[in-house]
């Protein structure tokens, strides 16, 4: 899941599945490419559940359309960096999920 959900009615975006758009209440979403975003904050978490590696480095990144996501991120990333979303494995290994990575130079154009 490296796509962002876009409301079919108002165009509002979210990375988090829900029944209705938080902005307009519409029930239909389309998958969109989130493009590149900006890392707003980072944290390295040292107290983690047993099946999560420590430290768990997480970033809060904002993308076009006011959509933000908290996701695991590359250890060299810092707030202010331009990032993209890559596929990653979820903690239980059963679902694909997202990882924040440095945006390739071509992605930033």
């Amino acid at each position: 899941m490296s796509r962002v959900l876009e409301c079919a009615d108002c165009g509002g975006r979210t990375f988090y599945e829900k029944r209705r758009c938080a902005d307009c209440g519409a029930e239909t979403f389309r998958d969109r490419d989130p493009g590149v975003g900006t890392l707003q904050a980072v944290t390295a978490v040292h107290v983690t559940p047993d099946d999560v590696s420590e430290p768990n480095r997480l970033g809060l990144a904002s993308f076009d359309g006011d959509a933000s996501v908290i996701a695991q991120c590359n250890g060299t990333l810092e707030a202010g960096d331009v990032v993209a979303i890559a596929e990653g494995a979820s903690r239980d290994g059963e679902d694909s999920t997202m990882t924040l990575v440095p945006a390739a130079v071509n992605d930033r154009r």
């Binding site: 988090y16 938080a22 980072v42 107290v47 430290p55 809060l60």
Partner: protein, 394 residues
């Protein structure tokens, strides 16, 4: 200066005005060898004795608890408590609202009295977290997150670490200022015999403690705790009355916030509570703020209109939220140092406020002669907030 949007305006709401004749709690500890039910019983009996109310007079029992099934392999708490107390004619129910279960149980008790269904309602909150090790407790609590967050291994400290990183980057506060929140709350807890941590700490102690979710360290974070707290609500007035109890929901996935430093549920619950109580933030003399993490004390003070955005840190730096400041914040030590047995916390905040407004605190913890007290109990990292205003009935 109070943000204009919080200034009291014309409203049809009336202060609630129900009596809070009795409160009680157990000392919060890292591990209490009593059972979860025994903790509930102890707090309940202390509140009933304080109120001079017999268990047979109780019309309804409202138990706040988040995760007895996960921590203690236990359910049916409200029925077990009611039978044990001998409150045979009461109705009973359990309220779960994650870390705001306590305040939500109180909210439910107030609603029971407001409806006319109860003349005497007993709200009791408890959690016994010592049955789980830290990793297991972290896992249980992280289950409140959105599935997408959970897949990333996101925990509650994760949200706080990200918020603190953002706040310190965006505003002029520095890391030592944030540590001063913990220093203040530990100093207050030193004078509270019910607090889990009674040893004062220094800024350097905070900065040298182990990293939990950078930039936050161990002393920026509340502990896991065992404990219970109880409060009696009556239709009749008492020396301390509840003037407002309002709650609001927020986003579920925290990244869905338009502003990562905005806790919309705390803002909405606070605004509704001021309106109901017909007061402004500047009328509040003492506040119990949900400081599960030091950064939350600042964010909630801003949401509640005690400071403009990005300036709450100056209240800490200037001593204005200290025990002798113009707004004493967390005089009992807060979640940070009194402890945070999830389902008990929201009621323990009210216990502290009732004691403060009655003057039932030792000199070192006295906030003078407060007229109004405010508590905010937050579920998760703001999925839901419950804001209560209590007043001294002169």
């Amino acid at each position: 200066m109070i943000p204009q949007e919080f200034a009291a305006g014309d409203t049809d709401a009336s202060p609630v005005g129900f009596g809070l004749p009795g409160v009680g709690m157990t000392a919060f500890e890292a591990a209490d060898d009593r059972s979860l039910l025994a903790l509930l019983e102890t707090a309940a009996e202390r509140a009933l004795r304080d109120a001079a109310v017999d268990a047979t007079e109780i019309d309804s029992v409202h138990v706040g608890n988040m995760a007895a099934e996960a921590f203690n392999d236990r359910s049916g708490l409200a029925n077990a408590l009611t039978a044990s107390l001998g409150a045979g004619r009461a109705s009973a129910r359990r309220i779960e609202n994650t870390s705001a279960s306590g305040a939500s149980a109180f909210h439910d008790a107030v609603d029971a009295v407001r409806s006319g269904g109860s003349a005497v309602a007993l709200a009791v909150g408890s959690e016994k977290m010592s049955a789980a090790d830290t990793a297991t407790a972290t896992e249980i609590i992280s289950r409140i997150t959105h599935e997408r967050e959970y897949q990333q291994g996101v925990t509650l400290p994760s949200f706080a670490g990200l918020a603190a990183d953002r706040y310190l980057a965006e505003y002029d506060a520095d890391r030592r200022d944030l540590a001063r929140v913990a220093v203040k709350n530990h100093a207050n807890a030193a004078n509270n015999s019910y607090a889990q941590f009674r040893t004062p700490i220094t800024v350097d102690d905070v900065l040298e403690s182990s990293a939990v979710a950078t930039p936050l360290r161990l002393y920026d974070c509340c502990p896991t705790s065992d404990g219970a707290a109880a409060i009696v609500v009556t239709a009749d007035a008492a020396p301390v009355t509840v003037e407002a109890c309002e709650s609001a929901v927020g986003v579920h996935a925290i990244a869905d916030r338009r502003d990562p430093l905005h806790i919309e549920s705390a803002h909405a619950a606070g605004r509704a509570a001021y309106e109901m109580a017909r007061i402004d933030p500047e009328d509040v003399d003492v506040a119990c703020i949900h400081d599960a993490f030091t950064i939350l004390e600042w964010l909630e003070l801003e949401e509640l209109g005690f400071a403009e955005r990005g300036t709450a840190w100056t209240l800490t730096r200037d001593g204005r939220t200290a025990i002798d400041g113009d707004l004493a914040v967390n005089p009992g030590g807060g979640l940070k140092a009194r402890g945070h047995p999830l389902g008990a916390t929201g009621i323990a905040q009210l216990v502290e406020l009732v004691w403060q407004l009655r003057g039932d605190v030792p000199d070192g913890r006295s906030t003078g002669s407060p007229e109004y007290g405010l508590a905010i109990n937050v579920a998760g990292f703001g999925n839901n907030s419950v804001c209560t205003v209590v007043g001294a009935n002169a």
